[in-house]
């Protein structure tokens, strides 16, 4: 067993509901969050086949506003926020000057001069400071940590639209992927974003914390006959891994660059400047030495975070995430390996607690939803 993490300091507005539902609560990034309500497998499968309801209120919100808000966001975010229309969101990174990750995030354009940045729970305070310092000197732009103003509920799965649509007048079919709208859901003022961290279609609903309980209850009622279940952080992790979505602090961190992580597509190469640009341009020209790949185990055993990857008897890389995924029913992993050996079909061995288990590189994502 691992050392016990520090005790949780924060509880979301839905904490009482999770406890009443019998959820197993665990500390996560300073929050006491539901790990699972029933079992991770059944929650994972519900999301793949029907829908799941997640409380992800631990995520942080930082807003950047002012006449020069776009220039400010362009400075700290690797992706090109200039390409965002109002009502559109994009995946991006807060890069270090070395081109590695401070965090990954979603950037929402709320108005021409107003952006919402959604960062990971572990990086709310530090991310806020990072952004505030990063945009200092850009001009007329201010960053505000608005995390306490939002609860965040995610409805994910092929039936998500059927669950949410009856509760709102907003035409959800007209809200495209990585687009958002504002309106009422179950009488609660919400920003309705067609985004998620599961590899499925779905919506993330930003609402005032005091209304979270009312919305949760309305969604649960609406979702019951669609096979929706509440789902916890356990299923969130296995779902995102199947979809090969990187986990900040684990697959991507201060030691791995945006390019090594295979995320060159979130770099606005045409932007004149942003934190990390020089290092990333240099690395793009020189080529990366290692790359994040998908591994599928070819023998009995499950690769886990931190396990060594071997080739020709010697260590060549490491696993950053791994499990046996409930939907594919395969042991898969994300791992950094030498760039020369990143092609699908390349064979490695993973050291599973002293036993070398064969594994081979497979294309990412492991799971892609049918359209």
């Amino acid at each position: 067993m691992n050392d016990a993490p520090p005790p949780a300091r924060f509880k979301t507005a839905l904490h009482g509901r999770h406890v009443a539902a019998g959820a197993k609560m665990v500390p996560f990034a300073g929050w006491e969050m539901p790990l699972q309500y029933g079992g991770i497998t059944e929650e994972h499968l519900a999301v793949r086949r029907a829908a799941g309801l997640f409380d992800v209120s631990h995520m942080g919100q930082i807003e950047v506003a002012g006449a020069d808000a776009l220039a400010a966001v362009q400075r700290v975010s690797t992706n090109d926020a200039g390409r965002l229309e109002v009502g559109q969101a994009q995946y991006s990174a807060l890069a270090t000057p070395e081109g590695t990750f401070f965090d990954d995030l979603l950037v929402y354009r709320l108005a021409d001069d107003h952006f919402l940045l959604v960062v990971n729970a572990a990086n709310v305070e530090s991310g806020f400071r990072w952004i505030r310092e990063g945009i200092a000197g850009v001009g007329d732009a201010a960053a505000v940590n608005t995390s306490s103003r939002y609860a965040l509920l995610a409805v994910q799965g092929p039936r998500a639209i059927d669950v949410v649509q009856p509760l709102t007048d907003v035409d959800l079919a007209a809200v495209g992927y990585y687009r958002f709208a504002t309106g009422e859901v179950a009488g609660v003022r919400a920003t309705i974003s067609r985004t998620g961290y599961t590899g499925e279609d779905g919506f993330e609903l930003f609402v005032p914390p005091q209304a979270a309980d009312k919305l949760w209850s309305a969604l649960m009622s609406a979702g019951r006959h669609h096979g929706m279940r509440p789902a916890g952080l356990g299923a969130r992790d296995t779902l995102r891994l199947e979809a090969a979505m990187r986990l900040s602090g684990q697959d991507i961190d201060g030691t791995t660059t945006v390019l090594e992580a295979g995320l060159g597509w979130i770099v606005g190469w045409d932007k004149p400047d942003f934190i990390g640009r020089e290092a990333l341009v240099k690395q793009r020209e020189a080529g990366v030495e290692r790359k994040l790949v998908g591994l599928e185990m070819a023998g009995p055993g499950i690769a886990r975070q931190g396990y060594g990857v071997y080739a020709g008897g010697g260590p060549v890389g490491r696993v950053t995430s791994g499990t046996r995924t409930p939907f594919l029913e395969k042991a898969v992993a994300l791992a950094y390996v030498p760039a020369a050996g990143a092609a699908p079909g390349t064979e490695y061995e993973v050291d599973v607690r002293g036993r070398r288990v064969p594994a081979r590189v497979v294309p990412l994502p492991f799971y892609k939803r049918p359209r």
């Binding site: 079992g39 497998t41 356990g234 055993g301 499950i302 886990r304 499990t323 046996r324 409930p326």
Partner: protein
């Protein structure tokens, strides 16, 4: 909850002794802590284990945990049905044995807990 026909370890294994042999599994508490079990790694028949030695491991979706041998002995049988149906550990932990051993010292059960003491431990 914890059958009185067997003994328990502080590491959450159970051992059901019948004469000179015994069957070994994990407790309800252990499976509940692990969550959905997806893989059980078992030893080979014929392997010898000291008391407290690791004989295998059990993996759930979210974690991996080592399995420790409650008493010294030699493996006479392993439960091969677990390869295809590891989830039976969750469904019926006290009815799902992992391996059978021939006890090195059938008279000794030192260091083990009875069901009441184990129930107290995990209360």
């Amino acid at each position: 909850m914890y059958p009185s026909d067997r003994l328990y370890t502080k590491d959450h294994e159970w051992i059901l002794i019948a004469g000179a042999t015994a069957r070994i599994g994990i407790t309800h508490y252990a499976q509940d802590q692990l969550g959905d079990v997806v893989y059980v790694e078992l030893p080979q028949v014929g392997q010898q284990f000291e008391q407290g030695a690791q004989f295998g491991s059990i993996e759930s979706v979210k974690a991996v945990s080592d399995l420790y041998c409650p008493l010294a002995g030699r493996v006479t049988e392993v439960n091969t049905t677990l390869a295809a149906a590891p989830e039976t550990v969750n469904a019926d932990p006290h009815g799902t044995w992992m391996m059978a051993i021939e006890l090195a010292d059938p008279a000794s059960a030192s260091g083990l807990l009875d069901s009441a003491a184990y129930a107290e431990l995990v209360k």
